[in-house]
Amino acid sequence: MRFVKFLAVAAVLAVSSAPAMAAEVLVPPKQKWAHDGFFGTFDRASLQRGFQVYKEVCSACHAMKQMRYRNLAGIGLSEAEIAAIAAEYETTDGPNDEGEMFQRPSRASDRFKSPFANELAARAVNNGAYPLDLSLIAKNRVGGENYVYALMTGYADPPADMKIADGMNYNKWFPGHQIAMAQPIQPDGVQYADGTPATVEQMSKDVATFLAFAASPHLEARNSLGVKVMLFLFIFTGLLYATKRKIWKNLH
């Protein structure tokens, strides 16, 4: 009897550790993030640095279609700053009175400008590879932002016995270890306005933080409401427990 119960428990544990055992899935090491935990909030300075990395490095190839310039309020930018950033990019609008499409500076309500018109255009200039949309990358990869960090810092020389195809690069954390993207983040690849030294680790961490925000812009609202809801539920359930005890006392 005990033994069978033990088997059942062992089975449960085996199941819960299953993702770690799955053969091909690499689980990147967990980093420490300011937005971890019940009271986590995004590190605003890191978000802004991360956006700078995206803007100056990643956005050359990677779109973020789910993001609009107004969402940058969430990383702590003012309305004027957002308007200024948006105005740097041209958006196609129209048709106008003559039935012509026209270009105009982007507004806060516009989506982030995509670097390519479509997937084929992107592949044509990227050696056949398609630079993914990064809006949800921190949600649609195992490990989320930890994967982004691991990938950015995962470029290395390939093991001696591995043959890397033409135009490909070795990366410890990319599935299959061969990635078309060359190491995008180089030391001092950007000049941080706040004077933070732009090491590969620092920039990787910042851009991963920004991408985590882009994937879950509501994370802070979620945590703060969640703490309140939990507090309410604990008190409410405690009162129900007391009520239940009192009512059932007559029966026992």
């Binding site: 059942a8 199941v15 053969a23």
Partner: protein, 421 residues
């Protein structure tokens, strides 16, 4: 059900209530079926999961209606419209996470509810139809959950829909024609998404209807109880209100804490990361896996090397539940008095978890072999162990009434006093 004489609640003498009741006895129904309704006095917390399942259904319907107000069932817009809900709709992320995690919560609750029925023999006479209706609800839930998972139109939505609808192609001769008919075309595409949305909106109301029948059947003979013996008289029962309304409310409080933890602090844990990638018919995910609650059945499907055989076995694993009241040949309901059955019960639970694990692995190597052994044990439980146990097992003596052990009398009556089932 032994009809106990009861004193109607005070509100029943209100003149307006009386006026209404004379024309439509709705207050009488509430009073008899919810307030004064006699329930066994010894129900434990395992009996909370029925009401919790009902609450889950309501949560899913309400959150789902609000999602439907903002969702666009079109392959071009579905994924983006869901992202718009997450990002721009006021508290859209909350509604979405409630709905998404609510599906998992609903299945956890229903699985515990079903397992409680296994342990305490709740499916035995005179509750066979009650049990059947429960299985029908379970099947409808599976269909609803499957179609709901397709709606966000992520990678797992698309490929899950492709794999599952393709199962029907295993039917000889007409299989492929049926699949084309289900799809509304020659692949999972816009017509498929549209009809799945329509059906996903319809099914919960069908479930609600069957739930009413389930409750009706329940209230004929009343709840089973942990001792599995019938109530002898009023001393064995208590009015539903306030005893079980407050006990159910306490269970609800605990349930909501677990639910809120997932919604607010771990909303992605029960899902698959691939479903945050927009559906792409040209790129197949490395492993196509269904949601966790389907994994045991997925393992059974893949345990058979033959497609039709796998499909039949998978549907058979649920169909066999309809026969459970007769496959279990023991006249004693509760596992409390069935030491041998208790052993096999826990073995069965372990088998279900192993199947769940196997279903999440690629169908190859040791995982496939383990899945096959577990599949055999799953069916053996119903077809071999249960029928034989009834014959070979010597049950413990049953108490003579519910009130006796509950009230601390402690005197176990002789086996001769065994309740006639």
């Amino acid at each position: 059900m032994a009809k106990y004489d009861y004193v109607p609640s005070a509100f029943r003498s209100n003149p307006i209530v009386k006026w209404v009741d004379h024309r439509l006895p709705i207050f009488e129904l509430i009073d008899e079926q919810l307030i004064k309704y006699p329930a066994p006095r010894n129900l434990n917390y395992m009996w909370n999961f029925g009401s919790l399942a009902g609450i889950c259904l309501v949560i899913m319907i309400v959150s789902g209606i609000f999602l439907a107000m903002n969702y666009q069932a079109s392959t071009l817009h579905a994924f983006d419209s869901v992202e718009r809900i997450m990002r721009d709709v006021n508290y859209g992320w909350l509604i979405r996470y409630i709905h998404m995690n609510g599906a998992s919560m609903f299945f956890i609750v229903v699985y515990i509810h079903i397992i409680r029925g296994f342990y305490y023999g709740s499916y035995k006479a005179p509750r066979e139809i009650l049990w059947w209706l429960g299985i029908v609800i379970f099947l409808l839930m599976m269909a609803t959950a499957f179609m709901g998972y397709v709606l966000p139109w992520g990678q797992m939505s698309f490929w899950g829909a492709t794999v599952i609808t393709n199962l029907f192609s295993a039917i000889p001769v007409v299989g492929q024609a049926i699949v084309t008919w289900l799809w509304g075309g020659f692949s999972v595409d816009n017509p498929t998404l549209n009809r799945f949305f329509a059906l996903h909106y319809l099914m919960p109301f069908v479930i609600a209807g069957v739930v009413l029948l389930h409750l009706w059947a329940l209230h004929v003979h009343g709840s089973n109880n942990p001792l599995g013996i019938d109530a002898k008289g009023p001393q064995d029962k208590v009015p539903f209100h306030p005893y079980y309304t407050v006990k159910d409310a306490l269970g609800l409080g605990v349930f909501l804490i677990v639910f809120a933890y997932f919604v607010f602090f771990n909303p992605y844990m029960l899902g698959h990361p691939d479903n945050w990638i927009p559906a792409n018919p040209l790129v197949t995910p490395a492993h196509i896996v269904p949601e966790w609650y389907f994994l045991p059945f997925y393992a059974i499907l893949r345990a058979v090397p033959d497609k039709l055989g796998g499909v039949l076995l998978m549907f058979g694993s649920i169909a066999i539940l309809f026969l459970l009241p007769w496959l279990d040949t023991s006249r004693v309901r509760s596992a409390k008095f069935r030491p041998a059955y208790r052993l096999f019960f826990w073995l069965f639970i372990a088998v279900c978890f192993v199947l769940g694990w196997a279903g999440g692995q690629p169908a190859e190597g040791p995982a496939l072999l383990i899945g096959r052994i577990a599949t055999i044990l799953y069916f053996a439980h119903f077809l071999v162990f249960l029928p034989l146990l009834g014959w070979f097992e010597k049950p413990l003596p049953l108490p003579s009434s519910i009130a006796e052990p509950v009230l601390g009398g402690g005197k176990m009556a002789a086996a001769a006093a065994m309740e006639k089932a």
